[in-house]
Symmetry: C2
Subunit: 304 residues, 2 copies
């Protein structure tokens, strides 16, 4: 392949990912999935000493929950709502007529009460809210979900559907900040075991529009978000493979969750982009996992 060959071209030529015809949507080969699974298990081993409550979420969640969490204020452009056909047989005939005429057949699709889970932690807060006041020691939760973000891209590290393993800490501010600091340290050991180059930096979420720019600035000033970045698709613009977030009492307020002292609960999360870390490994260590550094294979238990 010539010099203009992209990482995505090479991943597809090698069969690690299989294109679907829509940018950012891929089938995964067993060689790719094996690494995603091994990474997921490794993240779980790193977080296990905290004794988190384990929850697994489906790729769809209630629309009302995400609205209450304030997602629409910040990221309307990333969200996917789920729409369904609720018509009768005449409507169905009209729909099929549109399909046959190669016209838009979706005009009868009506919005449901569901949307696509955009991050692994959003389904958590309504569950915690039903349980009453947090215990004195707060709570630690281990989550996994397929996430969706509407941002079609030719960068294989920017998929529209991807898996995020996440840990959330809820409690008083000190508990949350200590948890984030612990994971900032754990993450550096984790990524060193994977023999990947990295940098940790203050970051901001992709808030929508001009008012979003102010939110991004404020987030950076308050150092609410850090990212661990690894070069994948570009050396100049490395990819965020993990993020370390301090939500202040945003979710406590949205959901009326209280700490044991009766004040609004604080929260924070650490998220691992499993596909991104897998891509970082393939990019830096090659497509042949048998030739990966022994240290990496050991960390991922690839020999087991």
């Amino acid at each position: 392949m010539d010099a203009s060959t992209t990482l995505l071209d090479r991943l597809i030529a090698d069969g690690l990912l299989i294109p679907s015809g829509v940018d950012g949507i891929y089938a995964r080969s067993i060689r790719f999935e094996r690494i995603v699974d091994a990474l997921d298990a490794l993240v779980g081993r790193v977080g296990a000493p905290d004794g988190p409550e384990v929850l697994r979420f489906p790729p769809a969640m209630p629309r009302s929950s995400l609205v209450r969490s304030g997602y629409l204020k910040s990221f309307p452009q990333l969200l996917g709502t789920i729409h369904c056909f609720c018509g009768n047989e005449a409507d169905h005939r009209a729909l099929l007529h549109c399909v046959e005429a190669n016209e838009d057949w979706t005009s009868q699709q009506r919005v449901t009460d569901l949307l696509l889970t955009p991050a692994s932690c959003y389904p958590l807060y309504p569950i915690i809210a039903t349980r009453g006041r947090l215990p004195h020691e707060g709570g630690i939760y281990d989550m996994h979900a397929w996430c969706f973000r509407h941002e079609p891209s030719l960068d294989p590290a920017r998929m529209q559907t991807f898996r995020v393993r996440e840990f959330v800490r809820m409690g008083v501010d000190d508990q949350v900040l200590a948890f984030r600091q612990l994971w900032l340290e754990r993450a550096q050991d984790f990524i060193s075991d994977l023999v990947l180059p990295y940098a940790i930096d203050v970051a901001n979420d992709p808030f929508f529009g001009r008012s979003g720019r102010l939110m991004a600035e404020s987030q950076r000033e308050q150092k609410l978000k850090y990212e661990l970045l690894v070069p994948i698709n570009s050396e100049v613009k490395p990819t965020a493979c993990m993020s370390f977030n301090y939500h202040l009492n945003h979710f406590g307020e949205a959901w009326g969750i209280e700490s044991s002292d009766g004040a609004l609960a604080y929260s924070g999360c650490v998220g691992f982009g499993l596909e991104r870390i897998a891509l970082a490994l393939f990019h830096h260590h090659g497509f042949d996992t048998d030739a990966w550094p022994a240290k990496v294979c050991q960390a991922l238990r690839l020999d087991a």
Copy 2:
């Protein structure tokens, strides 16, 4: 709990499933997920001797692919299309105004080129179609995906989002029929190892509308679909936990896939509803997995 307590009530009271506020959408506890994972692994071991090509699909797929496969003719009512906000800042302000006024905020959502994967095998056919004629021995594929079907229900065995492990056989008709027969036999061993009561019966898909009734009758007459049924939520109406399908050359024709002899390829699939089989186990053997029959624990390798 009194006699009117449903299986869903008991699953929620026990914490195996956690409700989301929308029927058919649940968070999963670690105790539930452990069984789903063990079942998935067991199914994989049963199918491994065939040496299938392993593919894993995300919960979203191209809209055009599913249309080409003919899904809209049969099951428009089950499908979920994905819609996104593509507006500017003024549109965003209008959207937030609707949210605050507790009005419908989704009028600006526009359909994308994606929809929710409704069964694990649909993303396969376009991939096979790009590879040219099938080899003489045909093809065997091992798939897994989160699937979505818009059918909110209080029956925990009828979720809106659930995982299906599937094997597809493509080739000439004899190859496909032999594969289906083999899996009908394997499935009975599989379910016997899990010590579950079952029946196998001719079945039909939930085709839409009055014309759908004819399609259902034809499907039954030709014995294109068998189901393995286990009582879960109801003794009278047992739940399909596996299905064994013969597609004739439907997908070969839709995608122009040819067997090695140049004729349109035939296909068939066997699908395992992982949540359903897990629920069958909890229903029949109790919520305490430590008290499950030794034979079941052995088959699922729960001690490992």
